[in-house]
């Protein structure tokens, strides 16, 4: 069974971020990076399926040269090889143009299963995985909590719904699944694994290599344009609820229900 896992390199969780001078992007100079959290779980899920039924996991990443470190991490954790969509033509896109590039690479690989994290920790569109499935014309399911061993060309998965509800569904393969964070303990990259990863194949590919029109991907192919990136302004606002404890409590509940809508 061949499984492609799409991963993205993002700034480390507690990194201190600065907005770049263009006002539209994050200044990544000197910022430590990691594999996007839910992508780590997607990778772990993929490795588990491959270990159970046999086969290989191929890591697929779209990003600049600096993203090679994320690929090494994926290889160190156990991916058999990697495809790095690394070309100026892929840069500056949105979720749909990224999905077009990924779909082209996936078509070339023709895997049985594609896994992605459910969303990226930086842009957070939660779109790439589902657009990818749409472009491939494959069934997809989101918010995956558990994957059963595939059988007879079908795969049974557990989805997370609202308010503590879950859903088990079965999809025909090939399929695209977007994986929820925290579902398994993610394995550690061991020293052996890290050193072994240096010998694994890492194929760098541009738009022409995956057979996609340059106008469809990267900045040229985007449908969403980011206008401005800014840090929320801090404002201090406080409201004192008057009256005795019972009155104040009643007023608080009322406001939480009607204004804040958290109850």
């Amino acid at each position: 069974m061949k499984i492609v896992v799409c991963i993205k390199q993002v700034p480390e969780r507690d990194a201190r971020l600065r907005i770049a001078s263009d006002g539209k992007s994050v200044d990544t100079a000197g910022v430590a990076t990691e594999i996007n959290e839910s992508d780590q779980y997607a990778l772990e899920a993929g490795l588990r399926v491959a270990e159970k039924v046999g086969g290989e996991v191929v890591a697929l990443l779209l990003g600049p040269d600096a993203a090679e470190e994320a690929i090494r991490r994926a290889l160190a954790m156990g991916a058999a090889r990697a495809i790095h969509l690394n070309d100026a033509g892929f840069q500056g896109g949105d979720a749909s143009s990224a999905a077009k590039a990924l779909a082209a690479a996936v078509r070339q690989e023709s895997p049985d299963l594609v896994l992605t994290g459910l969303q990226s920790d930086d842009a957070g569109w939660s779109q790439t995985g589902v657009i990818l499935a749409q472009l491939l014309g494959w069934p997809s399911a989101t918010l995956i909590m558990e994957i059963e061993q595939p059988e007879d060309g079908r795969i049974k998965v557990k989805r997370e719904l609202e308010a503590g509800w879950f859903q088990w569904i079965t999809l025909p393969l090939p399929a695209v699944l977007t994986i929820q964070s925290g579902i398994y303990p993610v394995r550690y990259a061991t020293l052996k694994g890290i050193m072994g990863a240096k010998k694994k194949e890492m194929k760098k590919m541009g738009p022409a290599d995956v057979g996609v029109d340059g106008g469809q991907v990267g900045a040229a192919g985007r449908k969403v344009e980011l206008k401005r990136l800014y840090v929320p302004e801090k404002t201090a606002e406080a409201e004192i609820l008057e009256g005795d404890a019972a009155t104040a409590a009643a007023s608080l509940v009322d406001r939480l229900q009607k204004e804040a809508k958290v109850l």
Binding site: A189, T190, K192, I194
Partner: protein
């Protein structure tokens, strides 16, 4: 190639000093990923408070560390290790130290000293047989030298191996104490007296043996109760009539002292790296505490006295890192002798972490003293570093005496005594005085970045002064110098500070070159602060050496001893 030894004759070995070493990009990337794994492992799987309270490392933690590969970092790939450089090992060791004191000591006893003898002195067959399971962490190793009557005086061990013609094997008898990993190790590097022929006479010389626990007659005692690093295993190890086949002799018969010393040389470097890691963890925690804790309406981090402490900790780290990395670089470049450097690294880093843990606890104030906070555990864990793998006192004497060999050689009368100082202790008198004083020139520095050159100016000045003081001390004391421990300590301190100065100058030069702008500037600031303090300490030590106020100290000590521990003559102890 040596940084410290040339100081004693007034030289700077520029080849050893420049450029400041670094890891290959490939190793850096490997380390980066491994570090993340180790940090995550520490957060997810290691409960240091519980390890300390229960005084044991859970099996799952040891298995996890084995899986991660930390037990074979330094072992070549052909024996199932990672074959990493010494610098990589030191940096990985730092990360382990940040996770837990008991863990780093366990790994160090295994890899820095336990299996190191096999790695450095083992035959091909011994390496093939023992290293793979040790590198994989399936078995742990331990280093067994210390005995009830033999601590610092390692040459006086009583454990004995007697050759039995009848069995064609060595029969090993004796007891070792305070053996780290004693209760969990499967393979011991054991040192024992053996009878050898020297110039027609039969004499005792130490031989090293590889002793698997599986041999009949090997046993370990109950766990010792310790102040800190309580999760590490420390026990007696007993050898009762253990039949050791001749193919388990490590190195040459009679050559065991050399094995022990070489192993400890590299062990001390690992230990120093562990201290550096500990300091980094402490600075990180003290900083976040200082930012959160509010008094007088603001975070205490805003007060100068707290800032001074944090800056002081940062300088301790920068200095200790610089000497440790410079020394690991020497090892990786194949330097034959780095014993002075590693001894100084061990002394400076262990005393550095002790000061840093003290300051971190002080910043946390009363909270720091409470068991809810980790500082008291850090303090207990850090204390051992000043004691084991050679007490800091012994290492200072070693640094001075070993350093004095070269200048002593030129003054033949003391040369023999210096080569075997312990044996000759007290036997030496007199020495040709009044020889023409050798002219000691200030050594030259290479062309440096202007800002670094400015900082570096005191270095050649004080190297020359130091060599002058060394010669003066040799003339003044002659062979008696081996008994003048206070003077030796001053020389060792001065040599250590010269090493520190040289290392931070080299590193600042590299920092300036690699990172133009604020990054390089930060190196220069740290180097300046460190050098400014260090050369003044050197001046003070060398001044004291000649004034010799130490005689008065000896008078006071004699009075204390004569009155069984009273602080004034004529008083009773504790009065």
């Amino acid at each position: 190639m040596s940084v410290c030894r040339p100081f004693f004759t007034g030289h700077l070995d520029l080849e050893a000093l420049f450029p400041f070493p670094s890891m290959s990009p490939e190793e850096s990337e490997t380390l980066e990923i491994l570090r993340d794994s180790l940090e995550r492992f520490g957060k997810e799987r290691v409960d240091s408070r519980r390890i300390d309270a229960e005084a044991r490392l859970p099996r799952e933690v040891l298995d996890g560390l084995a899986e991660l590969g930390v037990f074979g970092i330094i072992v070549p790939a052909e024996y199932d290790g990672a074959g990493a450089s010494m610098m990589f090992y030191a940096k990985a060791f730092e990360t382990l130290a940040r996770i837990d004191g008991s863990i780093v000591v366990t790994v160090g006893a295994h890899e820095s000293i336990g299996l190191k003898g096999i790695l450095q002195f083992g035959t091909e067959e011994q390496k093939r047989r023992f290293l793979p399971p040790l590198a994989r962490g399936e078995q742990l190793a331990a280093f067994a030298l210390t005995e009830p009557t033999s601590g610092s005086d390692a040459a006086s061990i009583r454990t004995r191996a007697t050759w039995s013609e009848e069995r064609g094997a060595w029969i090993l008898d004796g007891t070792k104490i305070w053996i780290t990993n004693g209760g969990i190790a499967e393979v011991f590097t054991v040192f024992a007296q053996t009878a050898v022929e020297r110039e027609g006479k039969t004499v005792d010389r130490i031989t090293a043996f590889i002793v698997p626990r599986s041999l009949e007659g090997v046993s370990s005692g109950p766990e010792e109760h310790k102040l800190g690093i309580r999760g590490s295993s420390t026990t007696e190890v007993h050898f009762e009539g253990v039949v050791v086949p001749p193919d388990l002799v490590l190195g040459e018969v009679g050559g065991g002292f050399k094995v022990a010393m070489e192993v400890l040389n590299s062990g001390r470097l690992g230990l120093a790296a562990g201290c550096v890691g500990g300091m980094k963890q402490l600075l990180a925690e003290a900083t976040s505490y200082a930012l959160e804790r509010r008094q007088f309406g603001r975070p205490i981090a805003e007060f100068e006295l707290i800032q001074k402490k944090l800056a002081g900790m940062a300088l301790e780290i920068y200095g200790a890192e610089s000497i440790v990395y410079l020394t690991t670089g020497l090892v990786d470049r194949g330097a034959a002798d780095y014993s002075l450097e590693s001894a100084i690294c061990k002394v400076k880093a262990s005393e550095g972490v002790w000061r840093v843990v003290n300051e971190a606890l002080q910043i946390a104030g009363g909270m720091g003293y409470m068991q809810e906070y980790p500082y008291e555990r850090y303090l207990r864990d850090a204390r051992i570093n000043l004691i084991f793998e050679g007490t800091n006192e012994i290492l200072r004497l070693y640094t001075a005496l070993s350093g004095l060999e070269a200048p002593g050689e030129q003054l033949k009368a003391v040369a023999r005594a210096l080569r075997d100082p312990i044996k000759q202790l007290g036997l030496l008198t007199g020495y040709a005085r009044g020889r023409a004083r050798r002219a000691i020139h200030r050594p030259d520095l290479p062309d440096l970045d202007p800002a670094v050159a400015e900082i570096a100016r005191p270095l050649p000045v004080w190297v020359a002064e130091f060599a002058g003081a060394v010669e003066w001390a040799l003339r003044r004391h002659g062979g008696e110098i081996v008994e003048r421990q206070i003077a030796l300590e001053r020389l060792a301190e001065a040599a250590g500070d010269l090493f520190l100065m040289a290392a931070v100058v080299s590193r600042a030069e590299e920092g300036r070159r690699a990172e133009p702008g604020p990054g390089g500037e930060a190196h220069v600031t740290r180097a300046r602060l460190i050098v400014n303090e260090a050369w003044r300490r050197v001046r003070r030590q060398l001044g004291r050496l000649r004034e010799y106020p130490d005689n008065d100290l000896r008078v006071v000590a004699a009075e204390v001893l004569a009155s069984s521990g009273a602080y004034l003559p004529g008083r009773r102890p504790a009065e």
